[in-house]
Amino acid sequence: MNPSTGIGQPAPEGATAPPTGAGPGLRADLAVERRGFSLRLPLRIEPGTTAALLGPNGAGKSTTVEVLAGLLPLDGGRIELDGRILDDPDRGIFVPPDRRNIGIVFQDYLLFDHLSVLDNISFGPTARRAGSFPPSARRSRRQRAEATAHRWIEALDLGGLEHRRPSELSGGQAQRVAMARALAAAPDLLLLDEPLAALDISTRNELRRAMVDHLALFDGPRLLITHEPAEAFLLADELYVVEAGHLVQRGTPEEIRRRPSTPYVAALTGTNFLTGFNRDGAITIDRANGADRDGVVATGFVLTTSDTRTGPVRAGIDPRAVSLHARRPEGSPRNTWQTEIDWLEPLGETTRIRLGPPLPLLVDITPAAAEALHLAPGLPIWAAVKATEVTVHPA
């Protein structure tokens, strides 16, 4: 590999830096040391796919944004985007923020309020091409930038708002302007930092669905930073769960839902995570369960599983695998018990329910099903889980 690749002076506009042979997409190994905090995070994102970095406050999400954006240098590891090295302390390479070509949708959007919507969106195309045009071509440069901006205004359904100031926009409109502004700069990586966190719940649910289409407008690698599991699970092809600066688990949403590796991940993803003792397919659930802080399991509650090992186990139940019935369900080998609704919360695509005693579980059902069952807190109900849906790992 050529050590000079990607050094502070990138190749002239239009030409791409010589590849290092590592291929397209984002390949990063982040290592940052700060007072009392260290971040270690490997990231691999292929073009056209979305990865989500999911974690609580203090997990290292903002630090990740800062090192990728070039606001904070790495202490170790490297960042490589489409074969171009952006940061590599070992080789003394550091590409400044304005030459990284990373589009960022910031948490509170950071739209320029002294500029119109159109000028915000054409900021990137204008700035990127600055310097490559002689002053005589300024006019055509500006026109070209505005043509680019107009394409994104159309793509994100912002027509009619071109001459508004960002302060005159609704939260959802501002979010789309931020998206258009980032995409109009033709970035090599799209970084979304809590893009829906500033919105109220109903707008958030609405935009979360629209985001699926918006993300598809960008064919490079995408990284979504979020603390909101619903967002990550809906939008991401792959999840990186981080806690205290370290990768706790990595996998597809399905893998993580089904096999949360720690109680923390289980709680974060809404998966039911229970500890107990398995004796030939009958798990006696412990009374106190780590992931379930506000509920206590009835003594001697037994879950049937298709896994017949014997010993202490961790059992996972996908909230979508629990079915609810008005009457006692008949048929196949399954766990059934009577319980009541503790609370329920509409999350847009699904309705999340928490069951009361004897086994406090999270359940996700469709809003239509919730409607049909007339679900409400305190309502007595039958719950059922197939034995094959109880995934078991040795504790």
Binding site: N101, L110, A127, A130, A182
Partner: protein, 282 residues
């Protein structure tokens, strides 16, 4: 009347007369009395000036060559000093706000020094530095034949010296207050440092820049001590309005009043013209 007495800070309902019931509360005399004295301090001198004005002779007094020359020079030099303060002071403010370097604290103190220093001392210091026999002035003279003291250019230098600190202090404060994440956002869009400064930082501090520029201009217009020391008092060349007033006070009191009124008028015109733009806070 449906108005409700309201002491909670909520907007009170208005009665049919349109009076806001909140304003009915008397402001405390402990604040009002000193405020009235303060206001008197600003209003009384103006009244004194107007009371002694020879209104009938005023047109001919103002039309005097000495006065029109001084007026022209004052306008030229004060605006030139304000412009120089912007062109040089904004980058200096940026440096003080954004770049870490050795001796920054000392430099910041030196920049604000002219605000504290008697202007006469500043003028003398300028003379020692860039006068014809000065530290920098002598080599400058030998190389280019340029002599700053006792010229209109010298007046501008003296004015800029006393005026620029007002702009630098105002703008540096504004730069410190800018949310740096907006600059980061602009950089992520491909904006180089100069583009970011020009298209994001500068517009964000525009109100403070305007305020700083007006402060600097106002300070330059009233400049006396540094100007008289560094540029002298040559009628038609370096005699600005304040110097003309001072000279006239010795010989022709009516002329002094007339020139003073001209100064008051210019100042008011500029301040009122700018008032609606930024003087009033929302």
């Amino acid at each position: 009347m449906t108005a409700t007495a309201d002491t909670t800070g909520r907007p009170a309902r208005r009665n049919s007369g349109g009076t806001d019931r909140r304003t009915a509360r008397r402001p405390p005399p402990a604040l009002v009395l000193p405020a009235v004295v303060a206001a008197g301090l600003f209003v009384l001198p103006l009244i004194g000036l107007l009371g002694r004005t020879p209104w009938r002779a005023l047109p001919s007094l103002v039309a005097d060559d000495t006065v029109t020359d001084a007026l022209r020079l004052s306008l030229l030099t004060s605006f030139a000093a304000a412009a120089a303060s912007i062109v040089l002071g904004v980058p200096l403010a940026w440096l003080l706000s954004r770049v870490e370097f050795w001796g920054k604290g000392l430099l910041r103190a030196l920049v604000t020094l002219p605000m504290v220093l008697p202007p006469v001392v500043g003028g003398a210091a300028l003379l020692f530095a860039i006068g014809r026999r000065g530290l920098v002035g002598e080599p400058l003279y030998e190389a280019t034949g340029l002599v700053l003291p006792f010229s209109a250019a010298g007046v501008i230098v003296a004015n800029t010296f006393v005026a620029m600190p007002f702009l630098v202090v105002t703008v540096e404060g504004a730069l410190d207050g800018v949310d740096r994440r907006y600059e980061a956002a602009a950089a992520s869009l491909g904006g180089g440092p100069l583009t970011v400064f020009r298209r994001v930082t500068l517009p964000m501090i525009a109100p403070s820049l305007r305020a700083g520029a007006v402060l600097a201009w106002a300070r330059a217009l009233g400049e006396f001590g540094a100007t008289v020391t560094f540029a002298g008092n040559l009628a038609g060349r370096t005699q600005t309005l304040p110097l003309a007033v001072f000279v006239a006070l010795e010989s022709d009191r009516d002329a002094a009043i007339a020139i003073s009124l001209v100064l008051v008028a210019i100042s008011l015109v500029v301040l009122v013209a700018l008032r609606d733009r930024w003087w009033t806070r929302p």
